[in-house]
């Protein structure tokens, strides 16, 4: 029960003046993922049935390595942003919302780093 006026409640703590960055990053990320995703799927289809050496050779081409890293960055960044919004929408208790958003952030960062390091390792242990 709060005796705060409705206007006070509606104004709340005011505006953070950053909401548009998240929105733009989501959109630019989505645009980047279209060509990168298509390229990645196309490349993986080409590697169906190939052995590890063939994969290693593919992964060691500088162009493929760079594109793989960009794809991973865009993918995890985008998934992280999208899932954050879902948590913000659907998890109501403030502490649980903040904890789950943080856990998600670190998980995405961990998985993304792990994937990129793997790609680098495959490339440089040839």
């Amino acid at each position: 029960m709060s005796m705060r006026s409705p206007l006070g409640q509606a104004r709340g703590s005011g505006s953070t003046d950053h909401g548009v960055q998240h929105w733009l990053a989501e959109r630019f990320g989505a645009i980047a993922l279209v060509p990168l995703g298509l390229w990645f799927v196309y490349s993986m289809l080409g590697l169906i049935g190939a052995d590890y050496n063939a994969y290693q050779e593919w992964q060691s081409q500088p162009g493929n390595l760079i594109l793989t890293i960009l794809f991973l960055l865009a993918l995890f960044h985008h998934a992280h942003m999208g899932l954050t919004v879902v948590l913000e929408d659907y998890v109501q208790p403030e502490w649980l919302k903040n904890t789950s958003v943080l856990v998600l952030k670190y998980t995405a960062f961990f998985l993304c780093t792990a994937c990129i390091l793997s790609a680098l390792r495959v490339t440089f242990t040839a």
Binding site: S5, P6, L7, Q9, A10, R11, G12, G14, S15, T16, D17, H18, G19, V20, Q21, H22, W23, L24, V85, E88, D89, Y90, V91, Q92, P93
Partner: protein, 258 residues
């Protein structure tokens, strides 16, 4: 977590059947949400057998007839009965709309009338609009200009005036606002479609000199950017307006400053 189930005691239960004993032949059942704060308890769905032969064509006509002839305790807001005041917004047949402009003939089978979704109910079909009204005040819906007023009115070109079409017609019925899931989940901080459409009305007004201040105020991941373009708002507006487009315009205006 989001509460998908209603809190205990707010699930509507079957209520009274108000039979029509006049020997009428053209009967339609109206199922109407009832809640009385004085007696408390669960809300009820009462059924009224309405004689369409002596009732006007719109859903509001039926409500008025019920109040007049069948149960004078039925409580609802209405005023203009021609779609200009925005009082008679309810959830009719599963969609938010104005009862006074919704023809009964457009509804197949029984007619269900509930209050607007996800607002506290004061009594029957009357819900508490304090919060959306306060959100409307928060966007400061008036002309702000530092240039001293000229001798006569502040001028606006015809093209600039045309930009307000599709915005000024909003009657603040909140049909759109309360049809939006984002508003259901985050309405405490998200301004909602009606309020944002009004914000756009002032951002677009060529005579207003506070555009920057207004956009700064809106650039927030809840106030404006909690809109996920679900488009329920546009689908429900009984005045045929497009709040989703106005919100898109606001987002672009904020993005353009980056």
């Amino acid at each position: 977590m989001v509460k998908f189930a209603l809190p205990a005691g707010s699930n509507p239960v079957k209520g009274k059947l108000h039979k029509n004993e006049t020997g009428a032949t053209n009967i339609r059942n109206f199922h109407i949400y009832r809640y009385d704060p004085d007696t408390g308890g669960s809300p009820q769905i009462d059924t009224f057998e309405v004689d369409l032969d002596i009732c006007g064509p719109m859903v509001l006509d039926a409500l008025i007839m019920i109040k007049d002839k069948m149960d004078s305790t039925l409580t609802f807001r209405r005023s203009c009965r021609e779609g200009v005041c925005g009082s008679c917004s309810f959830n009719v047949d599963g969609t938010n709309t104005l009862a006074c402009t919704k023809p009964i003939a457009e509804i197949k089978g029984d007619v269900k009338i509930y209050p607007l979704p996800h607002l506290p109910v004061i009594k029957d079909l009357v819900c508490d609009l304090s919060h959306p009204y306060a959100q409307y005040s928060a966007i400061e819906p008036w002309l702000k200009a530092d240039t001293p007023p000229p001798e006569r009115e502040r001028l606006q070109s015809e093209e600039d005036r045309a930009k307000l079409d599709g915005l000024w017609e909003c009657i603040l019925c909140f049909c759109c606002q309360t049809s939006c899931m984002s508003y259901w989940w985050s309405g405490d901080r998200f301004y909602g479609s009606a309020v944002l459409l009004q914000a756009d009305r002032w951002v677009q007004d060529s005579r207003d000199e506070a555009k920057g201040e207004r956009l700064t105020e809106l650039n927030d991941s809840y106030k404006l950017f909690r809109c996920h373009t679900i488009m329920n708002c546009t689908a429900s507006c009984p005045k045929g307006l497009n709040p989703a487009k106005a919100i898109g315009h606001l987002k672009n205006q904020v993005a353009r400053r980056e």
